[in-house]
Symmetry: C2
Subunit: 216 residues, 2 copies
């Protein structure tokens, strides 16, 4: 699959890119700066024999891709998407964005009253299918392909078929994706991140995660 | 510990009561009807040799207890608490309440913009220490003492000491309590219930739960 990762030079974006490229996906890192994206892509490619990874500016990356991952800080979400409405049309936008407040360990309620994922959907309109996932994954061990991430991925979105595609991407990144319902439920996945940051702080650990029990 | 459970005749309230009584706590089931509470208490006591369990009306139960558990439907929360402000003063109110909307599998956003637990705290004022816990526990297996509940309990509240008391009650009910931060984070625990109901429906199961990974 042709996957573009906007904000692909950050820890989570590049970590997911690395795991997907290792599984044979065509991956493009997107960034405001094509140069920075190309540098990071070269750095990651050097660690992956035979893997395909390039860097482009966000617009070119979005045009090229079949599926686009949004991995920018929440503060950059609206502006990033505003420039890409046409490029994203007809595609799945997989958002991993988490809005954090102060203190970071307390759930952050956006003034809109909805999740960052729903804000993205409202901004982009019906031509883009927004799916939220990977909100609770610690970037810490993504670059170590042998490391088993002890965390399930909650997948929220309107369409079952789109969530199934994202579940396959979860599996390709070494994680189990769980259909967690419609897009408003992304507010739970987003808020869980704050809660898990608090668990990390209180327990002096770095990779608190969640597992859904009772399935199978 | 002297524990009163308001709404103690329901499935979750009576299940927790049963497990705590089995561990030697003094438990009183509270209900609007003292008769109904006494009947349920007698029914549960008959299954537990040597355990102490009584039934009272909500007001008497709250006056008697050291710690009060709120296990009523969300629709009854405000009215139930309005009648008990004095009885609850100086005590921990452990709320297990979850507001559900329609569809039940979609996170329910209260008009107040905060969690049911925070609404309780705002209503009761600073003399009552509200702690939220057990939002995600399926009542399904609580009455079977041998059954290991495969779910952690997220504990949210202002004071560490109060959360430690609740963590002990989690252990006494056979579960691990995890300090999940301040009271606003209860909105995540409450919303997770909707998400887990959806997991139950989609997977045709009855006891989806969550585990926090990475601790220890």
């Amino acid at each position: 699959m042709k996957i573009a990762i906007l904000g692909g030079t950050g820890a989570e974006g590049s970590g997911l890119a690395f795991r997907w490229a290792a599984k044979g996906h065509d991956v493009v890192l997107g960034s405001r700066s094509a140069e920075r994206a190309a540098e990071k892509a070269a750095e990651l490619s050097a660690q992956l024999e035979g893997a395909s990874m390039q860097g482009m500016d966000n617009s070119s990356a979005s045009s090229w891709a079949e599926l686009v991952v949004l991995s920018v800080p929440y503060s950059a979400q609206e502006k990033t998407l505003a420039a890409l409405t046409e490029e994203l049309s007809g595609k799945i936008l997989l958002t991993v964005v988490v809005p954090l407040g102060k203190p970071v360990a307390r759930v952050h309620r956006l003034p809109s009253g909805v999740s960052a994922a729903e804000e993205a959907q409202q901004q982009l309109g019906e031509d883009v299918r927004v799916v939220a996932a990977f909100q609770n994954i610690s970037a810490h061990h993504l670059m170590d392909l042998e490391h088993e991430i002890d965390c399930d991925v909650l997948i929220c979105g309107a369409k079952k078929a789109d969530k199934a595609i994202v579940a396959d991407l979860c599996a390709d990144a070494g994680m189990r994706g769980v259909n967690a319902g419609s897009l408003p439920n992304a507010s739970i996945a987003e808020g869980l991140t704050s809660l898990l940051i608090g668990v990390n702080i209180r327990n002096k650990i770095k990779n608190a995660g969640i597992r859904i029990t009772g399935i199978e």
